[in-house]
């Protein structure tokens, strides 16, 4: 039966030769290679739940009066977009689970992207020949971040409307072109009736198409170049070690898809997220919270934190203004993503390393890169925490001014300390050859021809020919297989 099907396809598409090579393709077994897969599977969940939501969501800002099962908003005037989101949450059967799965999946997607990017960065997987895929990956990250922002802005609740307001003001602050950019992108002065329809087209069509297309390119390049691998006995720049696509890797990967979806489904049903009915519809005369607690989704938090701790400075000269939000809101992300794009080329320039690399660095092998990466992470972590300065102030009963001033200091101190601590930790780890989380595993010894014992270097990448290999020594003690 399988054979007849294969024959039918092969006669029409000539696919058997490719399939034969594909099912033997080797994938490394290291756990850190799963993180990118988690992101990819979150994208699948996002598309499936997102398509479902489009059947019920009304992307329009026309005003309606709410009549529905949520009595707290009965008779309230609101946009059709917000009203349809209430309907999805309260009236469409399975709608709330789909909506919450969509939102949880977006948060996990972004988290997986960040961790995946860290994995690639700290192991040097972006080096030649993989610079193109790094650039594609950074683009995917930016597009995904933007699409997340557009997505939660569509709901037009009080919290998201405040976020759009901030986005408009950042666009407005851009020197020279800002006014035109803001008016053309948002359809006029904010608030207006245009942006929901625009964000909708961007969120459900344009950006997803770009993301899916670029993900296809990302995977095709990966397929062509093959995975990197960590150093180890028998592994060289010219070979690849792991398990074959079929059957074990495919089964494991599909299993991972089911588990990721299971976690998202359980969160979507059991853990409330973005309860927009509590925030109420957007009203430009009201802020999203009378007290503390107006935070964006986590992956935008660093930008909000930067807006909060930026001192009240701006540039005014010759009748023009470079407004304050430009620096944290537009310049900072510009520099952030610019440096990310340029990193493979910058590093090559400084290290003069132009070789192709298929063997990965462990983070300690490149102390300066690792230290710079950790310092950068600490910078954005401080910004992220600073985005909750009002929450922290009310939690610890201190003035928001004190908290903000603390972050204004930490934003410089934390990266500097992180850099030097990480660099010295890397150097001492590289000397000791101990895994930081593995503890001591003891050491292996081998008997020399003269009858003595000598220690075996676990990280010796290629045991010399003729030497007794440690794994062959233990082979002799393997118990017989049980039937």
């Amino acid at each position: 039966m399988t054979r007849r099907l294969l024959r039918w396809v092969d006669e029409r598409l000539g696919a058997s030769h490719f399939s034969r090579k594909a099912i033997d393709k080797i994938f490394p077994d290291h756990w850190s290679f799963m993180v990118g897969e988690i992101a990819m599977y979150c994208l699948v969940i996002l598309i499936v739940t997102g398509v479902y939501l489009t059947f019920f969501f009304v992307p329009a800002s026309e005003e309606v009066v709410y009549h529905g099962p949520y009595k707290a908003l009965e008779g309230t005037r609101m946009s059709a977009a917000y009203a349809s989101t209430l309907d999805i949450s309260f009236e469409v059967r399975s709608g709330l689970v789909m909506r919450q799965m969509h939102h949880w999946s977006a948060l996990i997607f972004m988290a997986a992207l960040v961790v995946h990017m860290c994995r690639v960065f700290f192991t040097g997987a972006f080096r030649r020949p993989r610079e193109i895929n790094w650039v594609v990956g950074v683009t995917l990250f930016i597009l995904s971040m933007m699409n997340g922002f557009f997505g939660y802005s569509l709901v037009d609740d009080l919290l998201s409307g405040t976020g759009v307001r901030v986005g408009y003001s950042i666009a407005l602050s851009i020197p020279i072109a800002g006014e035109w950019l803001a008016f053309l992108f948002f359809g006029g002065e904010f608030p207006n009736t245009e942006f929901i329809t625009r964000f909708y087209v961007l969120h459900v069509l344009l950006l997803p198409a770009l993301i899916v297309g670029l993900l296809g390119a990302h995977l095709a390049i990966l397929w062509r170049q093959k995975h990197t691998q960590f150093k180890g006995p028998g592994r060289t720049e010219d070979n690849i070690e792991g398990s074959r696509l079929w059957p074990s890797y495919a089964a494991k990967s599909v299993g991972l898809f089911f588990i990721v979806t299971a976690v998202v489904a359980a969160l979507g049903g059991l853990a409330q997220i973005n309860p927009v009915w509590l925030y109420g519809p957007y009203d430009p005369t009201q802020a999203s919270a009378a007290t503390a607690g107006s935070q964006p989704d986590w992956y935008v938090g660093w930008l909000d934190g930067a807006l909060r701790i930026m001192p009240g400075w701006e540039i005014r000269a010759w009748g023009h203004t470079i407004a304050n939000p430009f620096f944290p809101g537009a310049l900072l992300p510009g520099v952030t993503f610019g440096v990310l794009y340029a990193w493979p080329f910058l590093e090559r320039r400084f290290t003069k390393d132009r070789e192709a690399h298929n063997l990965l660095d462990r983070p300690r092998d490149a102390p300066v890169r690792t230290a710079l990466g950790m310092a950068t992470l600490s910078f954005y972590t401080i910004l992220f925490i600073a985005g909750g300065n009002d929450v922290l102030a009310s939690l610890f009963k201190v003035a928001p001014e004190a908290i903000t001033n603390l972050f204004r200091i930490l934003i410089f101190v934390a990266p500097a300390v992180t850099f030097f601590v990480t660099r010295s930790a890397c150097r001492s780890l590289a000397r000791d050859k101990v895994h930081p989380f593995g503890g001591s595993v003891g050491s292996r010894v081998r008997r020399t021809p003269s009858g003595g014992y000598e220690e075996i270097d676990e990280h010796d990448p290629a045991p010399e020919v003729g030497a007794i290999r440690a794994d062959l020594v233990t082979e002799a003690y393997r118990p017989p297989p049980q039937s």
Partner: protein
């Protein structure tokens, strides 16, 4: 095979010393997979029943999670037994690097531009394409109105009464000292850029700026409610410190001193609306703000 964890011939996992992992807790892998798949099936059927019965978000999420998780874990257990060979190694093979290929492709590309005649045609193609691309940019202009004066002025006109969000005009004594409300110009209650926060303070505390002495009848002082930072409504008034606070990014403004920013990212004072009282005792605007309201921009000055 190397010295890393892999799979044994019968599919069970091996630890780093190639010894069998003690993961056989009485039940063979097939048994455990079977139990998981039965649980998954039951949960999936339960999910259908919950939907038919009217739906319940928590039950739906939990049952969907169990159903998917059962299949997922079963697949991973199954995967451990599927491969009999464990870890394998293969050559990567070269990635490009054949000079012949490069040369042929280069020649074929450049033969188009070898002749001078072809080169000039190619230039014309570039010119036509460039002109087309340029004119294709123009429809972008349709996406929004020109900024024009819209950022520079609001709906306030001389003599416009202040009304609250229900459209009721505000009298000079509507607010008690220490009170605050959000006001709009009468007949333009939905003009978001015109909203003001009206505060009443003891008149002698106000430090009027030059030329603003008669802007605050009986201690009624009105400022634009749109934060000059990124435009959130500056909605929180702390009567004891006479401060307005923006809840988005924590800028504070001194109500007594022309709403000068005291702390936070805001760089400018809240624009002040010149107030007076009409013959019937209602608060009115003397004129529009004397500067643009809201977040700053290139041509704000």
């Amino acid at each position: 095979m190397g010295g890393r964890p892999g799979s044994h011939a019968d599919g069970r996992a091996l630890d780093r010393n190639q010894r069998l992992m003690p993961d056989e807790r009485g039940m063979p892998a097939e048994g455990r997979i079977g139990v998981l798949l039965i649980i998954s099936t039951v949960a999936a059927l339960g999910l259908a029943l919950v939907y038919i019965g009217g739906g319940q978000p928590q039950a739906e999420g939990a049952l969907l999670g169990i159903s998917l998780g059962g299949i997922g874990v079963a697949l991973i257990l199954w995967a451990r037994g599927l491969s009999t060979e464990g870890t394998v190694t293969a050559e990567r093979g070269p990635l490009g690097g054949d000079p012949d290929d490069e040369e042929v492709v280069e020649e074929r590309i450049e033969e188009v531009t070898d002749e001078p005649g072809r080169r000039s045609v190619l230039k014309l193609f570039w010119a036509a394409g460039g002109a087309l691309a340029l004119s294709a940019v123009f429809p972008i202009r349709s996406l929004g109105p020109a900024p024009g004066q819209s950022l520079l002025e609001t709906a306030w006109r001389p003599g416009a009464r202040l009304v609250d969000d229900n459209g009721r005009p505000v009298r000079v004594d509507t607010l008690p000292v220490g009170g605050t409300l959000t006001a709009f110009p009468q007949d333009a209650e939905h003009a978001a850029d015109s909203q003001v926060v009206l505060v009443r303070v003891q008149e002698h505390l106000l430090q009027a700026r030059p030329g603003r002495d008669n802007w605050t009848p009986q201690g009624n002082v009105a400022y634009s409610k749109i934060c000059p930072h990124v435009g959130c409504p500056v909605g929180l008034y702390q009567a004891d410190t006479h401060e307005l606070l923006c809840p988005c990014h924590q800028s504070t403004f001194d109500v007594l001193d022309g709403a000068r920013p005291r702390f936070g990212p805001a760089t400018r004072s809240l624009p002040q609306l010149p107030l007076s009282v009409d013959r019937e005792g209602f608060l009115v605007a003397q004129a529009d703000f004397d500067e643009p309201v809201g977040p700053a921009f290139w041509n704000r000055g």
